[in-house]
Symmetry: C2
């Protein structure tokens, strides 16, 4: 971590955003060594693909994404607000119970019962609200995520609408869907200070899944199994792990994670319940190759792009630090509105240093900004300039 | 293997196709034990997901597919006609050379150079020509594949068209694209008797990829890395591993694997070059759950369906051995014409035994037949009846 900060200082001292690529490369290299000591609960991760910030914050190496459409669980980032519950909760997955409230006939249901109500899958970018925090020029406390607190995964579960239908419909007056995580709350502490309970607008009802599988496998404990609330297009924190209660509510959760954390407050101020909650994701892209060097001549630049809550509609690439742009092409299948797309663009590179940048546009015409205005907690960074890389062509 | 044959005898003696499900279940259980001794070159496979027929023929358990849209390499079937080359060939992947012939300017290219020509990805069902051989009622020599010599994977590489363009175009008169594998040919044996060299119609030029990645990772040695010829919609054997030569030719390969093997000869006859080659795949589907038992009441039947060379357009499910049918729904993203789709249908099941069947239709209106006429080598089995399962509901 100290090295990350040092690199950031060096980057700031250099006084140019152009060295962001070197910054990212430096962190990648230093952290690659650290990731050999992954904690037990994520022993299935590929160490070389990860950056270990802490036992509860583990990033995917930028280079590990390559041109992969789907991110395997073995390379997906980890961000837990609280230590996960005991592994015993995934011993009998179908027996896990979730309480459903705020419906005409509230009751608990097991995962086994949920599986008889219907099934749907959605491809979705799962991205931590703080992804890119380490690329803001200011020093912001929190994990210094670069690009790798994000992955594209397929969730399978029952549409929440089917559950609601089985329970007689939503009770009148609901404004939010509130999910409660099953993490254990330590003794002697205000439960609301650590409870993972998030509320999202009830308008998301038709998109939400209660999911038991990720990429065709039962969701690991590390990623929220046996049951996770999936809100496509919303940042990671809204996708509540170990879902033990789902309620249709008139108010947002009183938990600190909802009230004052994950809010977009101006840089240098404290966030309050009046600041916008970190909910929908914005359009974003980054280059995944080349990251450091390339041969002179034709080079295929690849990357990933997504619209967040909207579909991504196009990507442009620049090989001169944003002075000129050319359209990239999407590569491979379109997994739908909430997934990411792999893109590629061919450029001719002469020997020397080149700043490679990408910028995506969504189906509503929103484009990545050159710079995202810094907010107090460093959320939602989608500025294209700091996501660029500097490549040396020999 | 003896157990497989015994089970098939019992199935034939029972005199009813309805026990096909039990047959499959029996094989699945017995083989699950065998798969604990996987050979070194496939040590990355999940043993519980595999059925070890031999070191070069390893099947995916039917239950291991579940509702997964993409089959990870760790669960993908293995079928090698010849022992793979030394692992040294994947030590420096970009240095692998492929000779391109039958073009205006023939020459060798490295994988590194191919990567500068362009990139594309295609989701494709990879299926062994003999998948389902073990479900034909006749005894046919060869691996007794059930459903699991198939998977849905994403290949990434350069479109063959880009390579041809870089080499001045296809030479006049080409009728076939002929790919040659890089397996080592044992001494003292007619090379053509073991050479893996396959020809496909030149009309496939626009679909063919020269691939270096599978599911976003470099292709393992076991699956044909560092370079594999991918012919979407064609059975596995046509997708030549360790591609060392690709030629546009006027004749089909003289290798035995092309001339007399992988031909559709009537059952009980010997195949000759005049019989149709096993090329395009047919429309097919099978149920992946439940496979053995279910609780009484609503049950979600799931499975996979693909059109082979054409897109799959619909699937029906029967819970009464094919007497009545209901439409299933597709679940999750559509990966395109050559991929498979996951399907689901909800049925109500009373206690007792139920025969679950599925039957798919492709975009050209071709439907799975009830029974595929047996051919001499047991290829292309897509009959819906033998692909059914018998489920006990308690």
């Amino acid at each position: 971590m100290q090295e990350t900060i040092d690199l950031k200082r060096r980057y700031l001292l250099a006084g140019t955003a152009m060295s962001a690529g070197l910054l990212a490369a430096g962190v990648r290299t230093s952290a690659q060594e650290a990731a050999t000591a992954l904690p037990d609960y994520v022993s299935f991760k590929v160490p070389d693909a990860m950056i270990l910030h802490s036992n509860n914050t583990i990033e995917t190496q930028r280079g590990a994404i390559g041109t992969s459409l789907i991110t395997p669980e073995s390379k997906l980032y980890i961000r837990n607000n609280v230590t996960p519950p005991s592994a015993s909760v995934v011993e009998d997955r179908d027996a896990w119970e979730v309480e459903i409230a705020g419906v005409a006939n509230p009751r608990s249901m097991t995962v086994g019962e949920l599986k008889t109500l219907g099934i749907e899958s959605v491809a979705m970018v799962l991205q931590c609200s703080g992804n890119g925090r380490g690329l803001y020029p200011e020093e912001i406390s929190g994990t210094q995520w670069m690009t790798g607190a994000a992955g594209n995964v397929i969730w399978t579960g029952v549409p929440l609408g089917r559950v609601v239908e089985a329970l007689g419909g939503v009770a009148p007056g609901a404004v939010y869907v509130t999910g409660t995580g099953g993490e254990e709350i330590p003794e002697g502490i205000d439960p609301l200070s650590v409870l993972v309970e998030r509320s999202v607008p009830v308008e998301e009802l038709d998109n939400i899944l209660l999911a038991w599988d990720i990429n065709g496998e039962p969701i690991s404990l590390a990623h929220g199994g046996p049951l996770r609330m999936i809100v496509p297009g919303y940042t990671g924190v809204n996708n509540v792990k170990y879902l033990k209660k789902l309620a249709f509510t008139t108010e947002q959760s009183p938990a600190r994670i909802q009230q004052t954390r994950y809010r977009l407050a101006p840089y240098g101020t404290s966030s309050t319940p009046e600041h916008p909650s970190v909910w929908k994701m914005e359009v974003k892209s980054w280059i995944t190759g080349p990251l450091e060097s390339a041969g002179a001549g034709p080079v295929v630049i690849t990357g990933v792009a997504f619209g967040g809550y909207n579909a991504v509609s196009g990507v442009e690439v620049s090989a001169d630090g944003g002075a000129t742009w050319q359209a990239a092409e999407f590569v491979g299948p379109d997994l739908g509105r909430f997934g990411w797309r792999v893109f590629a663009a061919m450029v001719e590179l002469a020997p020397g240093e080149h700043q490679l940048m990408s910028r995506a546009t969504d189906s509503e015409g929103n484009a990545q900004p050159e710079v995202t205005e810094t907010n107090n907690s460093g959320y939602n960074n989608n500025g294209w300039r700091v996501h660029g890389v500097t490549v040396t062509v020999a």
